[in-house]
Symmetry: C2
Subunit: 381 residues, 2 copies
């Protein structure tokens, strides 16, 4: 199923004329529809051909009309997915119901997509985000989590920045899973340049996505808009490393507003890139996770992924009586000793100790040797 | 104020004849009093002089009577603090109201103490505990936390083991504060031997404390008993590193039972010694703390220690309008550019950009140069 062509073109037109994430645009589109708003904008331009407005529009569109822009984009391998398309990820509509943050908000007009992965396959995706200035610890943690999550069939979504973003994609690809980059600039652009290979790989095998029209520059405000798309596309956000004022906290904030599970990976308290995560954990805003399995447990439908808590080996000595444990504790680790010595150490009568040693020998905890008793292999661990 | 001498002697007698933390002893003492129980035990021994009981008693007491033991202890610099003494730390009485754990429980009969620090000064103390096999990260974190806590006038309480215990004492001493070691063996013993200097230092300047009678050996079961004393003496317990089956989790468990605040210091998810802490944090059993100040905030009376959350520098750019920010973002970092180029990058009309640049120049964000505009120092951070 596809949205009507007029609807798509109106959204392309608005995408060319407005800034991504402008909450006024989303609000009016929500109220009167994209076609009505686009018609109004065109009418305004015709009615008030002031130089400033003409310039603004010309600067934005580069003089292109929506159909021409769409055709150009298609030639560059991009499609514009809008509400009404089968591929439209319905979860984005939740953005209509949450308050504006840093003057950004609302569902996007559509998403420009490059790559074979369909956006409607992202219902169970997981965002793995964090600091550009990640530590090797953080990058490794992100890659490992992303690998486990992607291997379990949950696509990973992140930005395309250095640090955690890059590590998340690397991990997901290494895990043989699917991964998606959401950009602040146009989906046809390579930013940062150093990630050309990564972005080209994602455009071939996964998807590169942006709300910004093709050719759009990666501006600061567009990162704020982009972050809400990452949070809204996914069924949960994992924050791996984020300094106190990291942009990743903005994504985390969007996840919370959207009531999507927000998870945080702890790190050393001495590590500045973990401070922002620790703050969220302390505030109770995020759940502490230490593995991909724990992430899956949070985002997956109930009971599908239940993590078995790691636990120490069940020591058979725990099944001993208190008195037998007391006697066992009195047998030294490195040498053999007599019953009298064990009795003195344990503070028990020799007869009591003798019976206990018998039981402990039967249980394989101690061995009788020439000059007394010593620990058997089992008790050594 | 002192407890009556007969009461003290009865408790010494029971301390010599029973295992520390035996919940039956605590229960009967709670019901009929120490003197009645001690009289009954002596009567039993007289009535049933079986060889085993005689041996048990002789082995425990080494043949000493309570008064003789007390005199010997005093010569070794130890006192036996019991309920009724002014020095008795009332918070230990809470142990009467919590369930038994691993067959240990109840308030102690008394505490053997070596050192000038009075136990009634521990009402606002903080336990800092963790793994013997600590990492340098964990040890440094423990020392730093303990230093801050001790410097604020809250004595630090720990064991005397390698790893976190040792680091906590070192930190508290380095912070110029008071610190207390609670031992599983007699307070007159040096265990582990490598900590002779530390224990002697604490006995001179702080306190070395034990529920186990002087001379008693450090047995496994006594560590379990000892852990409840650490948790009960203090107004909160900080767990720094603890592997999944660390003994420190037993102390944490006691703190929870006693409804004392339990805090956990996170660490790398790749670090086995942090796994146990992360589990407690995930379970919601402990509060995540990253600094001594945060610990004080948890244990101190309301409002006395309020931690100011670290935050990034307030960037003055946050006070700019969206459009001005958009223009500022379009000014490149390393070179100067013309208004036309900025307008293209920002996707705005040149007139709009020109007005914004004027405002940005007034705010000190950009500078006019020969060939256009460049970022002023302020905008660089």
């Amino acid at each position: 199923m596809s949205a009507p062509e007029a609807e798509r073109l109106a959204r392309v037109g608005l995408s060319l004329l407005t800034e991504p994430g402008d909450p006024r645009v989303a609000a009016v589109v929500g109220e009167v529809g994209a076609q009505a708003l686009y018609a109004n904008v065109l009418q305004q331009r015709a009615d008030r051909p002031s130089r400033e407005i003409r310039d603004d529009a010309a600067s934005r569109t580069g003089g292109k009309d929506p159909a021409g822009e769409l055709a150009d984009a298609a030639r560059a391998g991009l499609r514009f997915v809008v509400p009404g398309d089968t591929e439209w990820p319905d979860q984005l509509d939740d953005l209509a119901h949450v308050p504006v943050l840093q003057q950004r908000g609302g569902p996007p007009l559509g998403l420009w997509v490059k790559g074979p992965l369909r956006l409607d396959a992202l219902a169970r995706s997981v965002a793995v985000v964090g600091s550009r200035s990640a530590t090797t610890y953080g990058a490794d943690a992100a890659a490992e989590l992303a690998a486990v999550v992607a291997r379990a069939g949950c696509p990973v979504v992140s930005g395309a920045a250095f640090g955690i973003d890059q590590a998340a994609h690397r991990g997901a690809l290494g895990g043989g899973g699917q991964t998606v980059a959401v950009l602040a600039c146009g989906a046809d652009r390579i930013y940062p340049q150093a990630h050309r290979d990564l972005l080209e790989h994602l455009a071939r095998e996964g998807a590169v996505v942006s709300e910004t029209a093709p050719g759009g520059a990666p501006m600061r405000i567009r990162f704020l808009s982009r972050n809400r798309i990452i949070a809204a596309l996914t069924s949960g956000t994992v924050l791996v490393e984020a300094a106190v004022r990291s942009g990743a906290l903005n994504t985390a904030n969007w996840a919370s507003r959207l009531q999507r599970p927000l998870m945080g990976v702890p790190g050393p308290i001495t590590s500045a890139p973990s401070q922002g995560v620790h703050q969220l954990l302390r505030a109770g805003a995020a759940t502490l996770v230490t593995s991909g399995a724990e992430v899956l447990e949070v985002v997956a439908p109930m009971g599908e992924h239940v993590v078995e808590e790691p636990r120490g080996r069940e020591r058979s000595r725990d099944r001993l009586s208190t008195k037998d444990q007391q006697v066992l504790d009195a047998v030294p680790v490195q040498r053999s000793v007599g019953t009298d010595s064990i009795a003195r150490t344990a503070g028990l009568a020799m007869l009591t100790v003798a019976s206990a040693l018998d039981r402990l020998r039967a249980g394989g905890f101690v061995e009788r040797v020439e000059d007394g008793w010593r620990l058997a292999a089992l008790a050594h661990e």
